[in-house]
């Protein structure tokens, strides 16, 4: 799971795009707010009918603006500038004909479309593009003023509006550019940090597997040597060799990188469990299994391995520490999970008082099952036995067992 912080390039792109939306909104507001000014000013001059065309042109620019927002393509923005140029020129000429004195005192009224044209510069995805569009919009609006001057025979007076807007736009984009520059220097690279965390997590996972494997092989074998009779029988020697081969191979160190294709008829998990129980029965622990049936449930290879190893560790605990000679193993199957309960009626223990240096349950059961997304619950108290319940997720159910919740390990 990554950190809830966006990589800087993603955040910068979203922010620049948002500023573009902001420009469209201000442009639209400028055009809309221009309409009542046109209406009142022409009405005061007794030329209300002359407001129809300018207002229509403002509406045309609004529609064009809406189209650009809808399409959001470069050609649409260019088309808006072209339409805007024509509309702005026609707007100013129409008003100048109706209100000849407005060129001296009411430039604000005349340059509303020109201001909206400059705001098209905010349709950008990067600060550099934003600057380019702003300058282009300003050039188009200024060109419109020149054409009006030429056709209308009036002085060139673009007013301060377009200039102020282009200054604000350029300031906004330069600020944004500066912010993004600072970010590149100061902000941690989240993706690099996540990659480093992955590497460390992988290393920790490998260390965990090694600890569990060494505990279950070397440590147990040394314990056998300490407590065995002077002569080891063939089976005990074979077990020692098997454990040493496991250590030499160290396959668990690259197990997670393997992609295992599971055969539907694969019964390796069941066979592993049966072999495990047979081994414990031979060592003097009677294992009673309940919950078997004819269902077929598939587990991820890593989960199956963890489950068998954890089951082995649980039975090892019964054999070595409980004092009991019988262990009950119950298999409970549900569509999403398999649960294995290992219970004994031995001496039990107080889980809260287990010393921090005891590895058996922590490394061999808890950590193994947790590492594959499962859960472990332990109930025990001195004198009343122990129950260990391990639950792991199922990948798929090929065939459900008849008896609900009590199905065969497949």
């Amino acid at each position: 799971m990554p950190v809830r912080v966006l990589p800087r390039d993603v955040a910068s792109s979203i922010i620049t795009g948002t500023v573009a939306s902001l420009g469209w909104a201000i442009g639209a507001a400028t055009l809309v707010l221009g309409i009542p000014v046109v209406l009142e000013t022409t009405a005061r001059a007794g030329r209300l009918s002359a407001a129809i065309l300018p207002c229509s042109l403002l509406v045309l620019m609004l529609v064009s603006l809406g189209f650009v927002v809808w399409r959001a393509r470069v050609w649409a923005v260019a088309a808006y500038l072209a339409v805007g140029f024509v509309a702005s020129t026609a707007y100013e000429l129409t008003l100048l004909m109706a209100l000849p004195g407005s060129i001296d005192t009411q430039i604000y009224l005349l340059n509303r479309p020109a201001v909206a044209l400059v705001l098209v510069g905010l349709a950008a995805r990067s600060p550099v593009a934003g600057v380019g569009w702003s300058v282009l919009g300003f050039v188009v609006s200024t060109a419109s003023t020149f054409v009006v001057s030429s056709l209308g025979g009036v002085p060139i007076r673009p007013g301060y509006g377009p200039f102020v807007v282009v200054v604000i736009s350029l300031t906004a984009y330069l600020t944004l550019w500066g912010v993004q520059m600072v970010q590149r220097r100061r902000i941690p690279n989240i993706e690099e940090l996540e990659a480093e965390n992955d590497r460390l997590t992988h290393g920790e996972d490998l260390a965990l597997r090694t600890t569990a494997a060494v505990h279950d092989t070397l440590l147990n074998d040394l314990s056998i040597v300490m407590n065995a009779p002077d002569a080891l029988d063939t089976r005990a020697r074979s077990r020692l060799r098997q454990d040493l081969e496991t250590l030499n191979g160290a396959e668990w160190l690259d197990a997670s990188s393997k992609l295992t294709v599971v055969d539907e008829q694969d019964t390796s998990l069941r066979n592993d469990v049966m072999r495990l129980m047979s081994g414990f029965q031979w060592r003097g622990l009677s294992v009673h299994v309940t919950g078997s049936g004819d269902g077929i449930y598939q587990l991820e290879p890593a989960i199956a391995t963890a489950l068998v190893d954890a089951l082995g560790a649980a039975l090892e605990n019964v054999l070595r520490h409980s004092g009991a000679t019988v262990a009950e193993v119950e298999l409970v199957y549900e569509p999403e999970a398999i649960t294995i309960m290992v219970a004994d009626e031995g001496v039990g223990f107080d889980p809260a008082k287990v010393a921090g240096d005891r590895l058996g349950i922590r490394a061999s059961i808890d950590a193994r099952i947790a590492a594959v997304g499962g859960t472990v619950q332990i109930w025990s108290s001195p004198g009343s036995g122990t129950s260990i319940v391990m639950t792991v997720p199922v990948r798929s159910v090929l065939r459900e067992h008849d008896a609900p919740h009590h199905r065969e390990l497949g």
């Binding site: 990554p2 912080v5 902001l22 707010l33 940090l193 921090g356």
Partner: protein, 370 residues
């Protein structure tokens, strides 16, 4: 995200951008001063010319206030900060309109509504769209009406409706810009962040270096026991000396395994630094990957800080009755506050997105890992 786009601020979603982007209100303050200065000739036409610079200072001051209230270690800007900002900027407009009362000015070039608009816009990254709309909407209406009341009698070029629209236009545009910015940014950013937080990072399963390191560790752990057990398996005989040696090897092996099992990811940092880790309950192992990434990067940044006494860096993790983990970090960094903040704040802000109840001062940092 449970809350709608209008209820979350851009800063809440993306604190890192607005840490580096906190200069924005200062830029706006600069624009206010620049535009106000551009209209200095009109100040002199007023019977009370001093009111204009006072108004400029108030409007620019409102932007500066936003800058000060949003410094990295402060809490999120709330209603109080927003109200203070619009009150100061609004006062600037009113003061300016009183100054221009009785003067025939070009209201379309009046700097004050423009200054108010920039003050509202400076709130955009730090307040939710809803709050900006409420604060900006109400204040725009009130300021427009009051300003119109003071200056309208002297305006001859425009009709009353046009005057009001012209006065309100910059403020409406500023408000619209702020609301649009906050709303659109949050709406666009939220799904990206949520998608990212749901993403499962591919685990490095082919890290040959890590596997090699682990194989070496395994070789070290088993160096003495394996040859011993091979001999036992070959002969099938166990002598009292073998039993004693097996016991000795088992004890040593067990100690090594316990030591390894007790190590957490924090200890891996401590191994190659002078970080002191106090984590008797192994609480570090319970932290989620994003919390680890954020905390690890902060600790690395502290260790890399020039002037930091790396031997003073201590982290302590303790369980709380509610199951959460309380984390405390103490450090001794001999840097001026400004430089310390600039260096560490990005890491602090990253960590703050992943933990609760975070506090930070010059020598310590604490938070709760839920």
């Amino acid at each position: 995200m449970a809350r709608g786009s209008s209820a979350v601020s851009a800063q809440q979603l993306d604190p890192l951008t607005w840490f580096t982007g906190r200069v924005v209100p200062l830029v706006f303050a600069g624009l206010v001063v620049l535009y106000g200065a551009f209209r200095v000739p009109t100040w002199l036409t007023s019977p009370l010319p001093l009111l204009q610079p006072i108004g400029v200072v108030l409007c620019a001051g409102a932007c500066v206030l936003v800058y000060l209230l949003t410094r990295p270690l402060r809490r999120q800007l709330g209603w109080a900060g927003g109200i203070a900002t619009v009150l100061i900027a609004g006062a600037g407009v009113i003061v300016s309109s009183i100054g221009y009362s009785g003067v025939n000015i070009s209201i379309e070039l009046w700097w004050a509504p423009f200054g108010f608009a920039l003050a509202i816009a400076s709130l955009a990254p730090y307040l939710s769209a809803r709050r900006v709309l409420v604060l900006g909407g109400i204040s725009t209406v009130i300021v427009t009406v009051l300003a119109f009341w003071f200056v309208d009698a002297d305006i001859t070029v425009w009709g009353p409706l046009s005057s009001m629209v012209i006065i309100a236009s910059p403020m409406v545009c500023g408000l619209l810009a702020a609301v649009t910015f906050s709303l659109v940014l949050v709406r666009r950013m939220t799904p990206v962040i949520e998608q990212r937080s749901r993403m499962v990072l591919p685990l490095e399963t082919t890290d040959a270096t890590a596997e090699q390191v682990e194989r070496l560790r395994l070789a070290r752990l088993s160096a003495r026991a394996v040859p011993f057990l091979v001999g036992i398996a070959d002969t099938g005989r166990i002598t009292p000396t073998d039993r004693a040696l097996a016991g000795s090897l088992a004890r040593r092996l067990r100690d090594d395994l316990v030591t390894q099992s007790n190590l957490t990811w924090l200890d891996s940092i401590a191994e190659d630094s002078r970080l002191v880790v106090i984590d008797p309950e192994h609480r570090a192992a319970r932290m989620r990957p994003p919390q680890r990434i954020a905390l690890r990067s902060l600790l690395r940044a502290v260790l890399d800080t020039p002037g930091a006494d790396s031997s003073s860096l201590l982290i302590e993790l303790r369980g709380r009755p509610d199951g959460a983990t309380a984390v405390g970090i103490s450090m001794d960094i001999d840097l001026p506050e400004g430089r310390r903040i600039m260096h560490l704040a990005p890491y602090y802000l990253t960590l703050r997105t992943e933990v609760d109840d975070m506090t930070w001062d010059a020598t310590s940092l604490s938070f709760t890992s839920p």
